[in-house]
Structure formats: structure tokens, C-alpha cells
Symmetry: C2
Subunit: 293 residues, 2 copies
Amino acid sequence: MKRSEIEAAYREIQEQFSSSLEALDGDSQLRVDEWDRDDGGGGVTRIITGPGHIEKAAVNFSAVFGPTPTGLSESVAAGSSEFYATGVSIIVHPRNPNAPTFHANIRYFETDNGDRWFGGGADLTPYYLFEEDATRFHEVLKATCDSHQVSDYRTWKSACDRYFYLPHRGEARGIGGLFFDHLTADLEEVWDFQKELGSSLSMSYVPILERRVGIMYGEEETRWHEIRRGRYAEFNLVWDRGTRFGLETGGRVESILASLPPRASWEYMHEPGPGTRERALLDMVRAGPRDWV
Amino acid sequence: MKRSEIEAAYREIQEQFSSSLEALDGDSQLRVDEWDRDDGGGGVTRIITGPGHIEKAAVNFSAVFGPTPTGLSESVAAGSSEFYATGVSIIVHPRNPNAPTFHANIRYFETDNGDRWFGGGADLTPYYLFEEDATRFHEVLKATCDSHQVSDYRTWKSACDRYFYLPHRGEARGIGGLFFDHLTADLEEVWDFQKELGSSLSMSYVPILERRVGIMYGEEETRWHEIRRGRYAEFNLVWDRGTRFGLETGGRVESILASLPPRASWEYMHEPGPGTRERALLDMVRAGPRDWV
């Protein structure tokens, strides 16, 4: 596959996912920003906000290239002087605390010394636990993996559990999903897998959203929602490698931080009472990884 | 000065500052947590919250000791195997967007290879700019510095401007103040200065708070307040060395993150209109350091 083919498929994945969200939420506003990167390339950021079910969603496409930034030349792109990277990243923050936050990313990378690889993943962060949602989400991801030789649900599920973890809290971010990176072998097969993963993302998430956005909730649920969104902000700002790398190397701040929740709060020593739905969520994220399928 | 003397003075500074806040806000609730550190020492965290003027304030005292953590032994405490550290840290997040956030810290450090030093500072983060507040705040800090030989307002004011800066935004956190660290010489004189600084903290801030908490405000001001508090969270989680060090070395999370705003928000590409009070604040933090006295 060539760069142009990958970019075209990524743009289609962006378009498809964005449309599936817009269809769900008649009250939302869509904003589309095309932007250029000073050192080469650019992207398209699609933002959905409004008073409806989607409080804030960002669906980014980018294709950037140029001299390898220092952070990259010291790590994954060691020995290269030029790089090319393209990807789609998705974040959805629904308004209803019963609906989980969704995050996904697929990406392709090349260096001028001939390295090429794919990476990506998807994960779900509920604020209230519905076990059937967690199971369904993992089932879709597992089915996509199982239909390809190159993909490995068990390994990538474990990698996701390890990555989306807040060591300072001793908590998982959510119920995990898939995480894979630096896949350098069997690139044509990985590419086939990645295209299918991209087009299955809306199927993995939108039905969950549809089931949960109509549930009644009040101030207490929103308070809990915002506290947990504080944890989401902590993960992204303190631990997420992509966010930190972007901020430290002068990436486009508004695209990088589009993943942050529309609203978050921090209360000192908040602890939900025993037997509550909030307690059940907290116990789950502190209990360690779980097999959902 | 001995450890016991420093600890006693620090506890008094904590008590005094906390009382001055409680006196201001009749509706606030005070919570006092004494805690132990597994590896040695402990602290007292005083938290003020409630429906009144102080939305969230934390006044921490700690005195900790034990084997030098790896992060310290690789940096300021190189070559040591045991350390001792005591300090007071203060953060005040008022509810009214016209009242600035206040932060201050004073600390003393010792290692078993004979190094001893003081550090600290104070800084102010307005959400709307009142020049007289910025000037008054700096005047109090400058007067405290000017009454001691060892203190240097100009140098420490510049260090504060450099430290409380968000490179990814190209913005100062606020209007700065003082920042000094690793003062190893003339320790008795530095100690005299630090005691005076500690007892002048409430004078530097509480009169500003009193002037601003009665100003009327509405939803638009609160929206702006929360967006700017998002920047505060970004600074603390991404750039603040103390916060990152604490989180990475297993410090007491609830004390470390007590500095985070009670509520924050992130909106994509929010830009205040020309001629607004919000625009004036944004222009100020983007304009680079300013001499307030």
C-alpha cells in the first residue's frame, strides 16, 4: 500500500465515524478545521459539540512529514532524519454519565531509513458499569481480530490494560480494549486488518451510546461524571505518551487537547459510599484487568 | 536553626494562613487530615470547601524523611542516601471569577551528606485582570524581599515568570510573583527571610480576595473561569516539577492533587472576542513578563 491509499482510507474512516455520530445527535454542531503543519503536512479536525447527546467529540485526520523531531529520533525513529506519519484519532465525550467515553486511534509511520509500521487501538471508559456494554465492546474488537491472521486479541487486550492505567491512582482508565504498536511485519495483512478495524469502530461504540443516552440522570450522576473525567484528564496530561510528545514537540495544541473532557472536577478525598453504582465502578477499575469475553 | 524549630514555624504559618481564610468565609467547611508517609514522616492537610467564597483551598504541612527516592538522588540530592524535607504549600481557588487563584510554597531540605537548602515562592493567577491587584501583590513580596540582604526580588520575580509558563500555549500561568530554590548559603538569614515571607502571605492575598469576592458575575464569567482553570490543570499536570515528581514517586495523591481546580473545562478553539475583559487577560498572559512594581 502507498501513502495515498492509506490517507484516502483514513479519511474515509474519519468521515464514516463522524457521520455516525452526527446521525445520532440532531442537536449537535459540526465544525471542520483544516490546518497546516509548519514543518510539513497538515490535517482535518472535525469537532462535534452542542446541547445534545454528544457533549464533545473530536475526529482528527492528519498526515505530517518532515525532519524527524528530536523526541522521535531518540526513540522509535532512531537513526532517521525524515519521517512521515498519518493517522485518525477519535474521542467521544457523551453528556449522559451512563454513556461511556470512547477513544480510538489508527496510525501509519515511515522513516527515510526504510522503517514502516502500523499502530492503533480502541478503548472504552464508562462512568457507570454496564457489563453487557463492556462485553459487547470487546466482542466486536475480538471478532475483528479473529478474522485476521496478523491480529492477536489477547496480547493487544493486555497491552491496552497496561497502557491505559493510572499508576498514581492504582486505577485502570476504563474497561480497556485493544492497543498495538510498531507492527513492522506482514504489512499488507496488517493494513487489511486496520481497514476493517477502522470501519468497525462505529459498530463497536454507537449501539452502546444509543442504549445509554436516554437513561435519566441528575446532579449526583453529573458530579460523579465530572470527577471521573478529572481522572481522564490526569491520564492524558500526565501519562499518555502521544499527548506529552505532542505538547513537548510543538504539535497543534487544539487538536492534541481536543481529547480532554468538556468538563472535569477535582474534589478532595471523594469516596463513593458502599453499595452505590459509583462504588461498583471504582471497585472495578481498582480490581485489575478482567476478561470481558 | 534546627528541624524542630523549622517545623514549628511552618505549622504556625499553616495555621495562620488557614485561619485568615476561614475568617473570610463563614460558609466554608474545614477538614483536617493528619497522614503518615509509609517510608517516614507525614503531614497535616487542611482543606476548606463549601458554598461560600472559597470554593476549594488546601493548606498542607508535611515533614518527611527516609531513603532518598530515585528521582531525587538523580537530581538535587545526588550522592545522598537519606533525606529530610519539610514544607508548607498553599492553594486557594475562590468561587468568584473576579478573584484570583493564589499559590505559595515554602520548603526546607536536608541530605545525609550535609547539603541543606531552602526554597519557595508565591504566585497569583487572575481570571480577569485588575492591575492594582497585580501591583499590590508584587509590592508586598518586594517589600518582604527588600527588608533582607539575602533576598532578591528582581531575580526571583524573573525565575517565577520562567517557571509558571505553559510552553505549549505560549502563555504565562498568571501574573507571577516569587520563585527561589536551592538557597544553600547564609542559611540563618534565609531562614529569617522565609519566616517573614510565610507570615506575609495572607497579607499579600487576602485583601485582594476581600476586594473581589463581592463583584457580581454570571454564566459567561464562570465559563471563562473554568476554561482558564483548565490551563491551571494543564500546568500542574504537565509541567509542574513538584506535582510530577510526587506522582511518579508515589507521594500522597490527594495532597499533591489538592492544587487542582474544583472545576475545569476544555472547549475547542475558544477565543474571546476583541475588546472583552477575557481578551485583555489572554493578551496579558501572552505578552510576556511585565514589571508590576
